[in-house]
Every structure is written in C-alpha cells, then in structure tokens.
C-alpha cells in the first residue's frame, strides 16, 4: 500500500467538495435545520390548543360551602400548559366549532356530576372531538388525565380514586374508533406520491437536458404546453399506480379506514401530482447532476413533513410555522385525505384544501413553463 496514493484520493475528494459550495453548505446546514426543527417540535414549548369547556353542573351545597367539581376541574385544566379553555354555554355551539376546526375539542361537565360523585355513584364527563385529528385529541386527553386525580384528591370524604370519573369520548366525524394506522395511512400515501414523483420528474428532466434530447425536443415543433402535459400524463400513471398500491395495502392488509370516496382521494392526489411534476421540472433546472437533485430533498420535503401537521398537530406550532405550513402542499393534501378517509368528508368539506392544492398546481405550472422558456435561450 502506498499512502501517497491514498492521500491523493482523499485530497481529491476534499478539493471536489470545496469546489462544490452547494454540497458543502448542505453538509453543515441540513443537520442544523433538522435538529433545530426537531428540538422545537419535541420540546414542551409549544402553543396550547383550544378546547371548549361547557359547565352544566350546578354543584352541591354542603356545610362547608358550595362544592362544584366542574369548577375545580376548570381551574386544574387551566394550569395545564398544552390547553386553553374557552367557556361555551351550549353543546350545539361547541360541536359546530369543533366541526369547523375553530376549537379542537369540547369538555362537557354534565348536570349533576358533583352530586353523583359525592354520593359515590360515579359519574362521567364528556369529551367531544372531531375524530380525525389524533394529535390534538391526545393533548386534551393527557390534560384531563393530569387534572382528574387532583380532583379526586380534593373531594371531601376521602380518596375514592379517580376511577369513578369516567370520560366518554364522542367523535363527531368518525364512526369507528381509529387506530394509528388509520391516522397515518394518509401521510404514507401523500408522502410516497410526493417523494416519488418529485424524484422521478426532476431526474428524468435533468437527463433530458444532459443527454441532449431536450435540445432535440426544442428543435422539433413540439410546444411547451405539449411537453408539460406529456410529462404530467406520463407521471400521473405511475403516481396513480403507486397510490393504489399504498392505498390497497393500507386498506386490505393494515385495515385502514376509508370512510369517504376513493375517487375524491384520487382527485386530491392528482391535483398534488400536477404541482409536483412541475416543481420537479423547475428544480431540475437548478441542478447540474443527480446528486444535486437528491440534495433538494431535505430542503423540499423535510420541512413539509415536520411542519405540515403530519405528526405534530399544526395547532400546537408557533404561529409563524402555522402560517408557513399553509404554503406546503403536503399540509393540505394530508389534511384533506384525513378528512376524507377518516371522517368521510365530501368535496364541500375539503374545498379549502382543494383550492390550496389547485393554487399550488397553477403556480408550479407557471414556474415550469418559465423554466422551459428559459431552456430555449
């Protein structure tokens, strides 16, 4: 072995990367970005989510004064960092806001709860949620789980235990009780489609340029619109095949819930794929080789996965991040798919998401067309 040769190879690699400023920057910046996001996301330093508090319990007069377990619970829940309570007077009003996502849940203290509990009969409070957002529901349940033991301790007549206070969960949009699979199936479908189509389009467009076939296309009478539509149709075939495979596996093997229309699911994905194909065309223009296409992944995909409400609920994120997330196609695609697949939502329920994806698609088509125009010098 000749160490001189070893050092020559090592030296060449170092020089190559020193010349490739973009790669060098990414080696340093990507871990920092990912760690900063992760650090933020797993910290407790998050925004509280909103829940309604409906107090129908009048409490009970006792020799020591009026006792209201509902009021005590309100105070205890108020101490929980993850939750902000908003007082509502009627169940109907709260249900309406839960449905529209203005609040993430409603805690209902039924009439006579104090009475029932103090007379050792046991009682039940109600939690009303939408049912399609596991993340926020867990936060409310955890807050309740922390607050209820305190309540039990404060109860005059000794520690009868919290077991007597049950929680009845009502999901407004969802019929069966959902599993993690149900909740994450939309994430997998959207994630795979986005990732695959982005990679396929940008790499094949890059090859089109580097192999000179782009030059040949430009010299032919083919128009930009024809090229874009052709690419779109071609890749749509693969996106749909893949979606059907992922969806099929989720439904038949993992038994994921599909309450709504499969066609609507496909329509949402198609719209997203139109945007992603054009995103791929646009970004391929900024890359010299395959390695540089791969380098776009942490920049394009990671923030969307972290901040798009896929794993960590949007409602718990800093307002700036929540605002940013509205510009991510994945945010809208996953939210729309969850509503359709878990909550059986129809087009009317997800129009907002649909139009957001439409805007993404149109914007990307314009960028893609601009890129192709530039291509023609």
């Amino acid at each position: 072995m000749n160490m001189g040769r070893v050092f020559a190879i090592a030296g060449r690699i170092v020089t190559q990367f020193r010349r490739d400023k973009r790669t060098l920057g990414l080696i340093v910046l990507v871990p920092l970005l990912v760690m900063a996001l992760m650090g933020y996301l797993i910290s407790d330093d998050k925004e509280p989510i909103k829940a309604a508090f409906i107090q129908l319990d009048q409490g009970m007069e006792s020799p020591l004064g009026r006792i209201s377990l509902g009021d005590q619970l309100y105070r205890e829940l108020g101490k929980q960092k993850g939750l902000t309570l908003v007082t509502y007077h009627t169940v109907a009003e709260a249900e309406k806001d839960v449905r529209h996502g203005k609040i993430q849940g409603a805690i209902l203290i039924p009439a006579g709860l104090t009475n029932h509990l103090l007379s050792q009969e046991g009682g039940e409070l109600s939690l009303i949620v939408k049912g399609t957002d596991q993340g926020t529901e867990r936060i409310i349940q955890m807050s309740l789980a922390k607050a209820l033991p305190v309540l039990a301790r404060n109860k005059p007549g000794g520690a009868a235990g919290q077991s007597q206070i049950g929680i009845k969960i009502t999901a407004l949009l969802v019929k069966k009780s959902l599993t993690n699979i149900d909740y994450y199936a939309p994430v997998l479908i959207v994630g795979f489609a986005f990732f695959l189509i982005f990679l396929l389009t940008s790499i094949s467009f890059l090859r089109e340029r580097s192999s000179g076939t782009m030059e040949r296309l430009s010299a032919s009478p083919v128009t930009r619109v024809e090229v874009m539509l052709g690419y779109l149709l071609g890749f749509l075939v693969f996106a749909l095949i893949q979606t059907l495979v992922v969806l099929g596996y989720a439904v038949w093997v993992l038994h994921a819930e599909v309450a709504g229309s499969i066609l609507l699911v496909l329509a949402v994905l198609t719209l997203m794929v139109i945007g992603v194909v054009n995103l791929g065309i646009t970004l391929s223009f900024l890359a010299r080789n395959e390695l540089q296409v791969i380098q776009f992944i942490p920049i394009i995909i990671v923030p969307q996965i972290f901040l798009g409400g896929l794993i960590w609920p949007l409602e718990t994120l800093h307002p700036a991040f929540r605002y940013l997330a509205q510009f991510f196609p994945i945010t809208h695609a996953v939210a729309a798919l969850r509503e359709i697949m878990l909550g059986g939502a129809g087009f009317a329920d997800i129009q907002g998401r649909f139009y957001a994806l439409l805007a993404f698609a149109v914007l990307m088509i314009l960028f893609g067309a601009g890129t192709l125009r530039k291509q023609q010098g």
Partner: protein, 248 residues
C-alpha cells in the same frame, strides 16, 4: 439559385462572449454546405440559431422564407446534435417512432419511416436494441436516423463525424449524398479541414463571422494553397485574393 436559408447581420451573445458577431450567410436549396472553423468559432451557435433554438440579439434569420423561430418551419428541419441525443433505455425503434411522432407523423407512418431510415443508415439489425447497448459508431448512425425520420427538407448536422472511424465516416457521407440527391439541403459543421472538401460549398467561420464562402476548389485557388487548412489560415490572416468578395 433558390435560397433556403438567409442570415444577415446575426449577433448572438452569451454574457460577454459574442458567439455570432454580425454574421451573413446564404444557403442555396439542394446544396451541401460545410461550416468549417475551429472549436469555439460559433458553428454550433449558428446551427442552433438556424434551428430556432436561440433568440438572436440582432439581425435576421430566414429559413424557407420565414423568420425563425417558427414551428411550421421547424417541422421541415432535421437536427442532429453533436452528442447522440437519444433515450438510452428505449430501443432504436422506440426512439425513432417517438421523434417521428413529435414531428407530427401518425403512429403507423412513424413506424414505417423508422424502418425506412434505419435501412438508409444500415441499422436495420439494431432496430430493437436499447440505445445504451450501441457502440459509438452505431449510436451516431441512430442519431442521424432520428434527424431523418420525419423526412426533413433541411438537415442540420453538428459535427456528425466526431469520434467516428474512417470507414463509418465514408458511410455517413454516402448517406448524405443520397439524401442530397433526393432533394435535401444539408448544412454540416466540422472542424476537420479535409472533410470540408466533400461539401458543395464551404463557409469558413472564425470568431462568429464568415470569413469566406465558396466551393472548396475556389477557396484553394483564391488563396493559392494546396489544402483547406492553409486556405483557412490565409483567409484568417486576410491574405487571400478577393477576401471581401468571399464575405458575400
């Protein structure tokens, strides 16, 4: 004689580089015109301008009477790039049918033409071989076939014989003569001086300008030189008789 292509005062800059610097050139119908010049003299840029791939900064480019870029005219031209611009994973046939259809041929017609042009460039036996398995020479023939598939009136060939062995080079020229006999106007660029002698006329290009254009024997006679290399140098240094006339 009928003019197929007319360029006047064409300027094309890339940043600070003037790739074409007020270039004038007329190409007659049914002729084989050679573009001769060293690397970087502007040959490829000139071909791309004629193909309508580049917007010029100044001057006029007319092909078959119409200003370029023009899609209708683009359909009548065939363009063979320097590198074999083919889809590696597709077979020769797939590539040819694809390019045929891009130029507007119906599928059945494109299939028929694919077989015809591969016959023309002696590539019949490679029709169903994926391009990535082809050797350099066969690849270049497939590349030519792709430029011919739609039966163009005008052929633009950018250094078609680079890296091609002598036997194949002769074969390629035979194909070009045959196409020319069938009526095609052919523009072929080369930096190999002797190859230029195979063309009807030669346009010598240097620093984005045409320094001389004439039949190769005339170019030799006017400079009193024995080969194209010396003739080129003579025009380049302005020593030729009637150099100005050559500008026309």
């Amino acid at each position: 004689m009928e003019t197929a292509i007319a360029l006047s005062g064409v300027v094309k800059t890339f940043g600070n580089v003037r790739a074409l610097d007020g270039l004038d050139l007329n190409v007659n119908r049914h002729e084989i015109l050679g573009l001769l010049g060293p690397n970087g003299s502007g040959k490829t840029t000139l071909i791309r301008v004629i193909a309508g791939l580049l917007k010029t900064n100044a001057g006029e480019v007319r092909v078959l009477g119409s200003r370029m870029p023009n899609r209708r005219i683009a359909a009548k031209m065939g363009y063979m790039t320097q590198l074999a611009a083919l889809y590696e994973d597709l077979t020769v046939r797939d590539n040819l049918v694809f390019f045929g259809r891009l130029y507007g041929l119906p599928k059945a017609e494109a299939r028929k033409r694919a077989e015809e042009v591969t016959g023309l460039v002696s590539l019949r036996d490679k029709l169903d071989v994926p391009v990535r398995f082809l050797s350099g020479g066969t690849r270049q023939r497939a590349n030519l076939a792709a430029a011919l598939v739609h039966g163009p009136e005008i052929l633009l060939l950018d250094e078609p014989t680079v890296g091609v062995d002598p036997k194949l080079r002769r074969g390629l020229w035979e194909h070009l003569y045959r196409l020319n006999a069938e009526g095609a106007t052919i523009i072929v660029s080369t930096h190999i001086m002797d190859e230029a002698e195979r063309c009807h006329r030669v346009a010598m290009i240097e620093q984005g300008k045409v320094i001389a254009v004439d039949a190769s024997v005339e170019l030799l006679a006017r400079t009193g030189t024995a080969n194209m290399e010396d003739a080129f140098l003579a025009f380049s240094e302005g020593k030729a008789a009637g150099a100005e006339e050559g500008m026309r």
